[in-house]
Symmetry: C2
Subunit: 437 residues, 2 copies
């Protein structure tokens, strides 16, 4: 039953054959064309009520600079929030998921207030003064640490995404939600600060037969997962910082496990205990849940890395092209990520996968981290079927829906990373689509 990760991805040994790329659109378009029809400043445009109104903004003082203040977003952004859907909560709001508004996500950092939240028994409020982390099992020197003691270790800060393995499952058997937030919002990204577990373990005398680590949370679900020792000694971290401040309660305050690139639920929150053993524990969350039934009737019980994946975030159903005029220049942008390494290439299709064009990667390109891609086109007011396809530096590539079904069947809802996209009408409206090829 203890089966290692089956690999549902497709290897692409010969990328030259695989890619049917065309050069009919070029990323250098922006250098030669006009992005906007410029609005000249004339007497009449200066009479524009908006400009007259704007001139009045400076006539009164703004809000006071608050004392002892933790800031909040502009009141005009009250719709930029995480959202829960009843179809996902099964009527139980202790064990549901609050989806991140990816359609308004800029860059590769999620603000802490919009970080997606999946809980198995609600958000535990842990008193940091009463926090203890017990580290025991196959070790020479078992240890109980207070938070202050843990934070004395030299820290590292690294940007990584965390993704629920069920992300993307809402559209797996056909389009279920017509928006990006509920299609892919079970992931977010942050700069995490903490100590690599290998640094802590260095002085504790790990036994040679310690092949597994149990990470146990102090929440009501007693979330517990078995982690292979190779990952623990590679890049696992005990983290207390999230985007420059202490972890949010919903993210496991005061301390969570971080396993860069691996299934969200493995990154155990409200951590209270690490135990080392020669065998895994077969906990509830790795037997009755987070397993995947295959075509042959057997279940995979250990999935670990999140597969190479990508999604176009603009346009999307919430951010359509309806206001564009024919001939306008517009950017297609989105996020690509892989739990196996660094994003190497992202390809875009405008015609449902008949032709593929290489997009540009922009900004920071970091391992096990969201990576922004970009492709600029001239809007021709014709229907499009937009798809994106990511390749990582481990040689994995996103499969088509049919290929993924062929590999791992149709029953499981986890690790669904097929090529998906959006249908754009000739009026610029954007709809969820389901291209099976």
């Amino acid at each position: 039953m203890t089966k290692k990760q089956k690999d549902p991805d497709i290897q692409a040994p010969n990328r030259r054959d695989f890619f049917k790329k065309t050069a009919f659109l070029s990323a250098s378009l922006i250098a030669s064309s006009s992005i906007l029809a410029p609005i000249k400043i004339t007497a009449s445009s200066l009479d524009d009520p908006a400009i007259i109104d704007q001139a009045s903004w400076g006539t009164k003082l703004g809000d006071l600079v608050d004392k002892n203040h933790y800031g909040l977003p502009s009141p005009y952004e009250h719709n930029n929030v995480r959202r829960v859907h009843d179809l996902l909560s099964s009527g139980d709001r202790y064990a549901t998921v609050s989806m991140s508004p990816l359609h308004q996500q800029e860059g590769i950092i999620t603000p802490n207030g919009l970080f997606f939240n999946r809980s198995h028994s609600g958000t535990t409020q842990v008193d940091p003064h009463k926090f203890r982390l017990m580290i025991h099992g196959l070790l020479d020197k078992p240890l109980v640490l207070t938070l202050e003691e843990l934070k004395r270790y030299p820290s590292e800060s690294r940007i990584h995404f965390i993704e629920c393995p069920a992300n993307g499952s809402t559209g797996w058997r056909g389009p279920q939600f017509d928006n990006l937030q509920f299609v892919k919002g079970m992931m977010s990204s942050a700069e995490w600060t903490g100590v690599p577990l290998k640094v802590v373990l260095k002085e504790l005398g790990l036994h040679k037969n310690a092949k597994w680590m149990l990470a146990e949370g102090s929440d009501n679900s007693e979330m517990a997962r078995s982690i292979p020792i190779e990952k623990v000694l590679d890049d696992a971290m005990l983290v207390w910082g999230q985007n420059g401040e202490p972890l949010r309660a919903e993210q496991g305050y005061p301390v969570r496990l971080l396993l860069p690139g691996w299934e969200g639920n493995l990154n155990v929150k409200w951590l209270k205990r690490l135990e080392f053993s020669s065998k895994p524990w077969h906990s509830k969350e790795e037997t009755s849940k987070y397993t995947m039934l295959q075509k042959n009737g057997k279940a995979i019980n250990y999935f670990w890395p999140m597969e190479v994946n990508s999604i176009i975030t603009s346009p999307c159903p919430e951010v359509p092209w309806s206001s564009l005029k024919k001939g306008d220049i517009i950017e297609i942008t989105g996020l690509a990520w892989s739990g196996r390494g660094t994003i190497k290439t992202v390809d875009i299709s405008l015609d449902g996968g008949k032709n593929w064009i290489e997009a540009s990667l922009k900004g920071l390109v970091l391992p096990k981290s969201w990576t922004r891609f970009s492709y600029i086109i001239k809007w021709d007011a014709k229907e499009k079927m937009l798809l994106s396809r990511a390749i990582d530096d481990s040689g994995h590539i996103q499969p088509s829906i049919n290929k993924l079904i062929e590999n791992v069947g149709v029953e499981g809802i986890y690790h669904r990373n097929p090529i998906v996209g959006w249908f754009v009408s000739n009026k610029g409206e954007v709809k969820n689509a389901h291209v099976r090829s």
Copy 2:
């Protein structure tokens, strides 16, 4: 009067002569020594009330996963806030500064709720639907843009600090505040998203005699600054995103100017107008304010880049070493930054500048961005005078207080980047210090 930036820094043509480095402590200490005196798990430690209490955490459900929710920090972190000091507000809370809690800052991203806030007439609340940005002057095609039109440009996301040029001035004539927050809290860092100004200007036909750009805000102070065209065409951006969400109102929602590495006040908030001209405007904020009187009685009126600088953030008066026992291993860490480029080296002194040791740079090392440095020591329970000194890739180095006074006099409060640090008593208490050498 239009005088270009005078350079108050010291060039270090021969670093080998300049540095008196010693090897009496090594960063590899951590590999060979024990960080903590391990607390063995015994029957009595399992009776520890904290561990018994912790075991009870899982006995009740946590808080519900909120619907339509923008998240907030753990209630246990209610003291981690920005703070205003009456000595700085001069009784006017419309025009003061709210300082970022740098003693609790992790990594190189400031969460938006803790981003420092300097306002000249309070926080303006701009309706994004009424926002217009006028771009005019020495251009073929002047333009008025709505927010939606502006956001159609292909965006870039970049991590940069913003610092008020008065940062560090509170301790300039001697220690004024005995904490890090009021000593250096007029700076923060974010991942900013927007469009480079050079991309917008490409199609507007900038005239050859356009040497300056006026950036004007829509706040009550009508904040306006003249920016040299070289900076505009180098890395200036119009930004609407801050750490993955729309700009905070206090940071200029919906659009501010970003001039990476340059004085905070030049990064004009609540932007409404950009004008191009052959001459600067001599606005209020570049004549009566943000100028610096020198020894010779003349004032420098254009400062631009923030100087190379650094500060130790742990330990600091708010994060002392009082709980350490002799022989414990502990990390000295802090932030280094330069508005002129990328941090190349940071040196640490434990003895007030007699000897210097090179620290490690850790995490991302990006241009015009906070950079974390680290040095690990064994606590010997003896008095220390901790200093840090940063060098950037433009060849600039932090001067001593005396050297800076020699160069630019004592009157001005801006661009004070001398080597500063903390006195640590033999009991591990940390005090603000003022080492003039």
